[in-house]
Subunit: 240 residues, 2 copies
């Protein structure tokens, strides 16, 4: 069931990670101090389709994606599961549960991945640094809010091409934000999952990828995508 090959994909460097400021505060600046290891469980491997945490599970901390990708889904059981969100390297998972007792949705690895985990209870013990920790957390949350407001463009997207363009542009800027290649990357979720996330038929996703490719805006093969004419793609997305 578990497959530990291919944990060697695009990996985000610590300085580009959403946890970086928090890690610094915890002692990462000095590298490998004991206090760090007590707070951050570093580079834990999570295999494809493995559950990171489930809905209603007790909140135990937030996570940073180091490599691979994760998806947030509604419902635990049936095939009607809806993808609410997904995360690429450098992004934080579990922020929405910060002031809740439990996690709100199931999060699973959409490919073989590695994460860092930050136990909040332990970190709160670092009293004198707590105020800086809070500042970093506020920063991370504000970033997330900003990102989601961009994603809300998708709510109003009228055509399939429009939707896909917004999706790709948003994805690109997220890769860039974490210091990863922004014009050539591997899709963090399958086309089928993209269809689910965007509320379109999987067939329409395939057709629309082809349509955009025929226009020369992108090149795509399987999960690999290259943005060729970002300007025009942005125009199509309406995000100039």
């Amino acid at each position: 069931m578990t497959n530990n090959k291919e944990h060697d994909k695009a990996e985000v460097e610590c300085p580009s990670c959403g946890l970086y400021n928090l890690c610094q505060l915890a002692g990462l600046g000095d590298a490998n101090t004991q206090v760090l290891d007590s707070v951050v469980n570093r580079r834990k491997k999570i295999s494809k389709n493995q559950i990171l945490f489930d809905a209603n599970e007790k909140f135990r901390g937030i996570f940073a994606v180091k490599s691979g990708a994760f998806k947030t889904i509604t419902h635990s059981t049936d095939e009607t599961a809806q993808i609410l969100d997904f995360n690429i390297p450098g992004e934080l998972i579990g922020l929405d549960a910060l002031n809740a007792e439990t996690y709100l949705h199931r999060v699973i690895a959409s490919e073989n991945s590695s994460i860092c985990e930050m136990d909040l209870e332990v970190l709160k013990k670092l009293d004198d640094k707590f105020i800086d920790f809070q500042s970093s957390l506020i920063l991370a949350l504000a970033n997330k809010v900003r990102l989601e407001q961009h994603q809300s463009l998708l709510i109003s997207a009228k055509s399939a091409e429009h939707r896909l363009a917004i999706f790709l542009i948003g994805l690109s800027s997220r890769f860039q934000q974490h210091g990863l290649p922004a014009t050539q990357f591997k899709l963090p979720i399958s086309r089928k999952d993209i269809a689910n996330y965007l509320g379109m038929a999987a067939e329409t996703v395939a057709r629309t990828f082809k349509a955009i490719e025929d226009k020369g805006l992108i090149e795509s093969h399987a999960r690999n995508v290259k943005l060729v004419k970002i300007e025009e793609l942005s125009k199509l997305a309406g995000t100039n």
Copy 2:
């Protein structure tokens, strides 16, 4: 141009306001202390269509909606403006600009409204209470992240009925969250704006309202909506 009538609609009580914890810290607990008045500009009136702040305007603080409603839109000029978000009484505006120099989008009143403004720079002077202030801010941000994750259901909504049901259920839970009537309320934005926000034609919004009403799930006249069968509406929305 300015119309100062009808500022007497549904108004959120302080304890149900997103700023409440922050106000408490600033001294609101003792009511009307001088420190409060230096931090929170209370109940400022904003007329319909008045701009609260514009994109690229210098960040000066966050706002709480006391009465009325506001909408966040892209672009300053043309008629192709896209509604990204909207806010009802008790909700905070400007959180996405917290660690930015400027506001990201234009926010305008969608009806005659009143707000409280919290100047962050002044509040930061309240040093010993700053840590509690940060905690409250983290709370508010986590709430916002959670809300937006619910809204992301709209990204994948397949049919017009599905979209509108999610919209109404989400709206209802937001009213409830701030202690306002959750089954009978006034739409914070026009049907035309709802259409813009949801990415549908205004005609489809009208037709879909009627369709849901014919099923007996809601009653609606002009901007007034009453949710009759919330259970079934939730089922339609897929949020059980």
